[in-house]
């Protein structure tokens, strides 16, 4: 792997490399993440087959490393004869799209609530804390079940449900950090310099939250992807025949005894993606912390 030799030669040139490039976790996670993003982005180009095309004559073809594998289907086919590689490539799109959109939606909701509660305190804080507690009392899967029963399952329903449910961690973290920053001397200094409340929140508080937002967002992206897989596995997520890694796990589960690669390949990818996101999140936190800047 060429990426590996880059990493190996890094220490020799460490003194001139930017700080983010010296963080091995960040680099490793970034590379995996980049590969998966590119997989999703370039799926139409890379995929050898249409992911929806069924070929009942070539069902459950094993991947290339099996004795009976063929180059026609490098990662084999599923129980309907659909090319597994093509489905995995398109599935990366679904997973990444869901992860990023859900983190974005929940990030906005959670940050607005958290910062409002943390900065203004008092009655505002009481009300928002109550909303957060109420949200924490809701089990995500149960709510998803109810919503899917009402509206049917679709990609937008999954994004909507998860986006409206996963903001609690954003809200809690932002509320706590805002409370700390609100009383910092530099906020008082900004008031003394004539800044309005809006300016203080946007120019003094938010930039100091950026690191926290990044870290929570990566955690939430990972959680959203895993939850989507879980929901799809339970039949509550994206509906077939859409290629989602969670759905592929679900479809492969009946073949786990004799054709385990149907479940291990998407499982490994899911594991790799979530690991990479967490590595990147931790790495970003280390690198962007202002105290360690140049």
């Amino acid at each position: 792997m060429p990426a590996h030799s880059d990493a190996a030669s890094a220490p020799a040139a460490a003194w001139r490399m930017p700080r983010w490039a010296r963080h091995s976790g960040l680099v490793a996670g970034g590379i995996i993440l980049a590969i998966i993003f590119l997989m999703g982005l370039l799926a139409p180009v890379l995929a050898p087959y249409n992911p929806y095309d069924q070929n009942l004559l070539a069902r459950i073809v094993p991947p290339i490393w099996h004795e009976t594998g063929t180059w026609a289907h490098p990662l084999g086919t599923d129980h309907l004869g659909r090319d597994y590689l093509s489905r995995l490539l398109y599935g990366a799109r679904v997973s990444v799209f869901i992860g990023v959109t859900v983190a974005f939606v929940s990030g906005i909701i959670g940050t607005v609530l958290g910062v409002t509660a943390g900065y203004f305190g008092g009655k505002t804080d009481t009300v928002i804390s109550f909303i957060i507690t109420a949200r924490l009392a809701l089990p995500v899967i149960l709510v998803a079940l109810a919503v899917v029963a009402l509206f049917g399952s679709s990609l937008s329903v999954v994004v909507g449900v998860l986006g409206l449910l996963l903001w609690d961690r954003f809200a809690l973290v932002m509320r706590a950090t805002t409370q700390q920053i609100r009383d910092a001397d530099f906020v008082m200094a900004a008031k003394v310099q004539g800044a309005s409340t809006w300016q203080i929140i946007m120019q003094e508080i938010m930039p100091n939250l950026a690191t926290n937002i990044t870290v929570v967002a990566t955690l939430e992206i990972a959680q959203a992807i895993v939850l989507e897989a879980a929901l799809s596995f339970l039949g509550l997520g994206v509906p077939p025949p859409l290629p989602s890694w969670g759905l592929m796990l679900a479809e492969g589960k009946s073949f786990i005894l004799f054709d385990p690669w149907l479940i291990t390949i998407p499982g490994m990818l899911l594991f790799g993606l979530v690991l990479a996101i967490n590595l990147v999140g931790d790495g970003l936190r280390d690198v962007t912390a202002p105290d360690s800047r140049n």
């Binding site: 001397d185 530099f186 008082m188 200094a189 004539g194 800044a195």
Partner: protein
Amino acid sequence: MLLDVQDLTIDIPTASGVLHAVQGISFSVDEGETLCIVGESGCGKSLTALAVMDLLPRRAIRAATSLAFSGRDLRGLSREAMNRLRGDRIAMIFQEPMTSLNPVFTIGDQMIDVLRQHRKVSRREARDRAVYLLDKVGISSPEARLAQYPHQLSGGLRQRVMIAMALMCDPKLILADEPTTALDVTIQAELLRLLMALQQEFGMGLVLITHDLGIVSRMADKVAVMYAGQIVESGTAETIFNDPLHPYTQGLMACLPAPERQRMQHLKAIPGAVPALVGAIEGCRFRGRCAHAQPVCERDVALREPAGAHPYRCVLPAETSRDNARAVLGAGA
């Protein structure tokens, strides 16, 4: 009159009753003049400065018969008008330089923002002013400093940056709340000299809040001694130091280390502690710690100005006070 404060009162409702943090204090500052407000922790000095800036804690209630800056009444000003005034005409410097700068922006960005907040100037012009002022406050290679983050500067440098930042909009009045308390003594002296030089150069009014009588003696034109939310004595620096009339002021001076004092002799201290200011309070606030307390001190004492003396808040006649001062401070006073 640059700043005129009459009868300023600050009440803070708490769970155990109303805290009378500041009880009817009056003072004024002119352009180019330094007023030192002296007092120990918790006497209301910092709240007084925040009250002028209208930045008291939300629960606090401010009242005054006059609170005027350059002839403009600050009491009725809208929040926007007050925002325009803060940082522009009135600047403030805090005690803690380590935390008064936003850690995620370079000092250049922060200085430029202050000016652009109040003036329509280009980034280029604002930058030039920042470089000029950093140079003024004695920071070497100001161009390079602009690109640095606060954590890269020492405490003394940060306080210089804070001073430069306060000067960005060419204010008429600076409120400095213990600006050198967090710094070591050699840097304190440098910064105070700097502050004084800048004040004279730009003709600003300076309100210096401190508990350090040494600073007061070097900096002040006028002095107001505060105790438990009241001004107990006020006058020019000379009269206060040569002719302290209030037992508290005399006590503070007796606590100062003096070169002629014998080696190994203990530093003096005023016995007792500041009274609680919660609920109804009556009588002289200092009577619990005063060596000259009398039954009449149970009643409220007014700030009075007898002939041949400056205003002080004590029932003792000026002559008796002077005798006490000689007894406490020795022949030198």
